[in-house]
Symmetry: none
Subunit: 466 residues, 2 copies
């Protein structure tokens, strides 16, 4: 049934508006070729408009070839020129992606920040100050690598949080790490062979493949990337998260780090991309020093993001180039404009400089710790701890759970979903077979509300079966 | 001298506030390593606070390593953060790029917006409303193609300003057109041969080359791209700005447009990227319909940006895919996150929906028209019109000037620069030889202040020689 709102006409006549609504549905494939339109009379009644109005709209649709009038039968959607034969499916797929995800009782894959955790007031106030205080600077083109004061603030943050001493000139700001990967492909050369972690975060491989780069998964053991695998696969550029691997939580110990630095310096053209995406949120143990910090050969590129510490919906990430690459970057890629808005660059710079970022991280760390504790408590109370082992690595915002169950991972995932629980099996993060991942699931608890936990845990426990 | 305001304490103690202000100045490089801080007593007197307060702030700065206390001498800024100990040649090169451009009396290459022309008040108010009104939506991940309400607003804008009827599902938002080019390379295939306009905007070719794509300059005549050149060079993907070519201002007439559409539909896999970057600012004549609007084959991708209409420092551009490509886009590139911050996407959506964008464009058009008239008037008054021909094509924010001079373009450009006038010869925009471009210069007047014009025109006239 066609239902359209006539509230926002914006100066259009009723007939024009109706014509446009129907046409849009035809173009979007919501009305398919051959489909019968409601009779003029019934549509008029349904929408509370006159038959003349519907007549006008149908008339124009026929005149433009979107519909056909079949005498004594009514109006039918025509096969529109320019739309492919199977057009409807095509657009439906696209349209589906617009619809929000199904609502779960508990989504252990989500990475969202509860609104109360984002410092809206401070952010809005700093933004206001930036707009009032430096209007001219806001309209002045940012250097391609980002505005200086933000890079200075990040350098200071890296020193105090990661013990990493870098100069603002080494820093490149970009709209998300995915964008920065594309800059790195251009900087390091697309003829290089890239290696990513197996298991690992699949999107990284997708971005490299999207840029036409040969990218292979490299096997890990419990200490991180296996050096023999690296050599056997002739990797040039290694992309890793040694301080907190996703999703296993594995932390590459210092001996393996030196092993990797040995590998990277053994041949020219090799490079390590150190993705430090959530190091701020390690909840246990001492912070792990960065690989860039112990590398003297200038072969490590450090990368981090404000997606985890602030919100993924402010698109600001950065990378730190070794000094050897700074000049090459400017020569090869200096023509690019910065992809982050000045307004947000200046606001974030102030947010860091004035100490709010530090406060915010501390607050978030407490908030995540509480969520973690609430989850553990609920798991214990609900009897889930007797049916599962927590594989604990001191990781930040998620952990791994090995279920005691006879069910296959696929079956369990589906049954959980049917009961309103979304959870991904570890197997999903592997390229190829992964017998060791059996029965292990990834639980991201960063956005989990305590109130749903008892019910969620009960459902999970029930799904495990006898 | 340190001067800080104590008006906006926001719950901080005086000492905390002072500590934070000084720390910020140190981190931002406004207070440099080795610099002496004022004595506690004098700073207290100057700021109208107690010595104890200053003592508390200095104490904390010393404890955290930002300052050093030297007995009997006072407090000094310590060497903190990543300011490099050793300044290598390499880094100096990078640092040079940080330094602002030399100041010219008149820069006819700049594309900046005078701060009084940007609607700061409205923008700030809408931003505030967005933050107050929909905090949860701001933290919810945007679809990869951008938030729906912004795409809806853009679709409505395209309809009313360009007569282009598209569905929001066809629109992809990205952080700048350069970023969108990279998506198009991935979507259309990097094995394709891309063609760009000769003469043309060099950055487009650089971006394609950066992505490892075979990209050739295609010769133009006075109606736009020459079809024979296109065929001879085996171009698959043609990137053009048919409604207003930069820098010549050439407008491709309807007959050539159909010729290009004939070319694009004559072989599978061909495609036209229609870059409509400043169509809002045509000052004369009727608006030119888009190529996408007359294409029935689904081979034209439309692209535009808010860089010209708002400011280049808010990084929002968009493209409109033909319906045939929408599904392919989602399948191939659906994994990418949107590169524009939610905060600015929602603000811009409101800005368009509430009619401010239309008002702003009209105001800017008037403003540019005034700048253009002022420039013409000054050229006449200064006698420059007797020494140069304006090559007028009804273009938006610049025009071409052919000087009557014996000097070479290179010599003239250098002499102008030496006299504080920045101007680029048309020759710079050509690949290869360009005898027809001789003595022609590009004058961008969009940011030109009327007050400097008489002097600027006098200097230009003097540089032309006898």
């Amino acid at each position: 049934m066609l239902t359209y709102s006539f509230e926002h006409l914006e100066g259009e006549s009723l007939y024009e508006h109706l014509y446009r609504c129907i046409r849009r549905d035809i173009l979007a494939g919501r009305l398919q070729a051959g489909e019968k339109l409601p009779s003029k009379r019934s549509l008029a009644r349904q929408l509370g408009i006159s038959v003349i109005t519907v007549e006008g709209a149908y008339g124009q649709l026929v005149a433009e070839g979107y519909c056909q009038s079949v005498p004594k039968k009514g109006f039918f959607v025509a096969r529109v020129m320019g739309l492919p034969q199977k057009s409807s499916r095509r657009m439906e797929t696209a349209v589906e992606r617009e619809t929000p995800r199904p609502k779960y009782l508990a989504d252990f894959t989500a990475n969202s920040l509860p609104p109360e955790d984002f410092p809206f007031k401070t952010w809005a106030r700093l933004l206001r100050q930036v707009i009032a205080g430096q209007p001219a600077a806001l309209l002045e083109r940012s250097p391609g690598v980002g505005i200086l004061s933000l890079r200075q603030s990040i350098a200071a943050h890296l020193k105090s949080f990661r013990g990493l001493e870098v100069s603002p000139e080494q820093i490149v700001i970009g709209a998300g790490t995915e964008y920065l990967y594309s800059l790195l492909v251009q900087l390091l050369g697309r003829e290089k062979r890239f290696g990513v972690e197996n298991p690992g975060y699949d999107k990284i491989r997708k971005v490299y493949h999207g840029h036409g780069v040969d990218c292979v998964p490299v096997d890990m053991d419990e200490d991180g990337i296996r050096i023999d695998a690296l050599t056997a696969q002739h990797v040039d550029i290694l992309h890793i998260s040694p301080s907190h691997h996703f999703p296993t939580g594995c932390i590459t110990p210092i001996s393996r780090r030196y092993g990797l630095l040995g590998w990277v310096s053994a041949a020219p053209g090799r490079c390590i991309i150190e993705d430090d995406y959530d190091s701020e949120f390690r909840l246990t143990g001492r912070p792990i020093p960065t690989m860039m910090g112990i590398d003297v050969g200038g072969r490590v590129i450090y990368m981090n993001t404000f997606a985890k510490t602030l919100t993924p919906t402010i698109r600001i990430s950065y990378m730190v180039l070794p000094e050897q690459l700074v000049r090459e970057f400017h020569e090869k890629l200096g023509f690019y404009s910065c992809t982050v808005s000045n307004f947000e660059q200046y606001t974030l710079a102030r947010f860091i400089q004035d100490g709010y970022f530090e406060k915010h991280i501390n607050r978030m760390r407490n908030s995540y710790r509480k969520r973690r504790e609430a989850l553990l408590k609920a798991m214990k109370a609900g009897g889930l701890l007797a049916r599962a082992d927590i594989l604990e690595r001191g990781s930040g915002l998620h952990f791994l759970l090995r279920f005691h169950t006879q069910k296959s991972d696929e079956q369990l995932e589906q049954e959980l979903a049917a009961h309103g629980i979304r959870m991904r099996p570890l197997r999903d993060y592997y390229a190829g077979e992964a017998p060791a991942a059996r029965h292990i699931f990834v639980l991201n608890y960063s956005g989990m509300e305590a109130s749903v936990l008892p019910e969620a845990i009960a459902r999970i426990t029930a799904c495990l079966g006898a």
